[in-house]
Symmetry: C2
Subunit: 209 residues, 2 copies
């Protein structure tokens, strides 16, 4: 039985996992979550996952949430994308945590604010706050990537899958690749890998359009 | 040579690591970071740590940032606080990530906004946004802890050290233990453990008073 990923196209956190599965060459099956119609608040979904989060990975009896934990699982099970050296493992975890707190952790809510929240609920002060924090984190990534091909070690890892989670989306969230040449080159390097696909190619969109 | 933790009292992220070191019975030495006078922006600190973050753990040649990665390191090196079963490890990681994104990830900036930012820079809209997200996460923790003593397995782990990082501070950040009886009982259970200390007992305060 192949792994199932409960996901929807707009979720960058789900994309990280879908991308890692593709890059690892692991067969998987998307289970569409109708997020904008409240699917994550339904009792069946809450029974699967008390945190009410997307994505959820199901692999037989194993049910996991939090994209960083799912990435760790995919890497462990497939033996891929975890870095070559033992010392890489801790660096991979560090970048996944950095992403969770400061890159995707800011880009996700910011993109939601600017694109998916009903207009009357949007707040420019909140968007400005999130954007300021996102760009502080992007500057650190830009510095780190200035003289490296990948975030950790000398090959692609789940740390790259994590940190790029929101960065291929076209909706405006104040991120412009042109402003970050090292990040731009790294995103091009990633999207040139065999198996890479854009989030909307891997997962069905949920936003009512 | 004992481990050194670059820290200051107001940092809940540093507290998580200091607390884990105490609970593990591992000798350690605090190195005070004069945060509010710009110490994390100084070249010497940036050389130690490109991310410019507090805490930083130094253990001989090993230099680590991101409290979740430091907690993982402390647990690995001491063989303590990692959970008893192999299956616990993934749950521990999941709660550390949940905390990084949604509990400490919101409580930290919110407490900063409400207490340490110059008053003219505070924004009630930002505080309301962060508070809303924090309380959503606290409700999930409250549900999870309703019928358990610890977040993972049947003993204290670094997941508990992570999630309590900001919850013992007295400064107002819209969290009141009385509203969360299961969290309240869990915090009391934690603070009754041998070795537990309040953040301001473990680390020197940096906020100019």
């Amino acid at each position: 039985m192949v792994m199932k990923l409960h996901c929807f196209g707009e979720s960058g956190n789900a994309y990280k996992c879908a991308l890692a599965l593709e890059l690892a060459g692991e067969p998987w099956e998307p289970v569409h979550v109708d997020f904008f119609r409240g699917a994550t608040r339904a009792p069946a979904f809450r029974a699967l996952n008390v945190m009410g989060e997307v994505p959820v990975l199901e692999d037989g009896e194993t049910v996991l949430t939090q994209s960083g934990a799912i990435l760790d699982y995919i890497s462990t099970v497939t033996g891929k994308l975890g870095g070559k050296l033992a010392a890489d493992r801790r660096e991979v975890l560090r970048w996944i945590l950095f992403d969770t707190q400061k890159v995707s952790g800011m880009a996700g809510p910011l993109r939601f604010q600017m694109n998916f929240l009903p207009e009357e609920k949007r707040d420019p002060a909140v968007a400005a706050f999130l954007s300021g924090r996102l760009h502080s984190a992007l500057k650190i990534m830009e510095t780190h990537l200035a003289d490296r091909e990948w975030l950790v070690g000398d090959g692609v890892t789940i740390a790259d899958c994590a940190c790029c989670g929101y960065l291929y989306y076209d909706e405006d969230f104040t991120f412009d690749r042109v402003q970050y040449p090292a990040i731009d080159a790294w995103l091009s390097r990633l999207s040139a890998l065999p198996g890479w696909k854009h989030p909307y190619e891997l997962m069905t969109r949920a936003f009512p359009g």
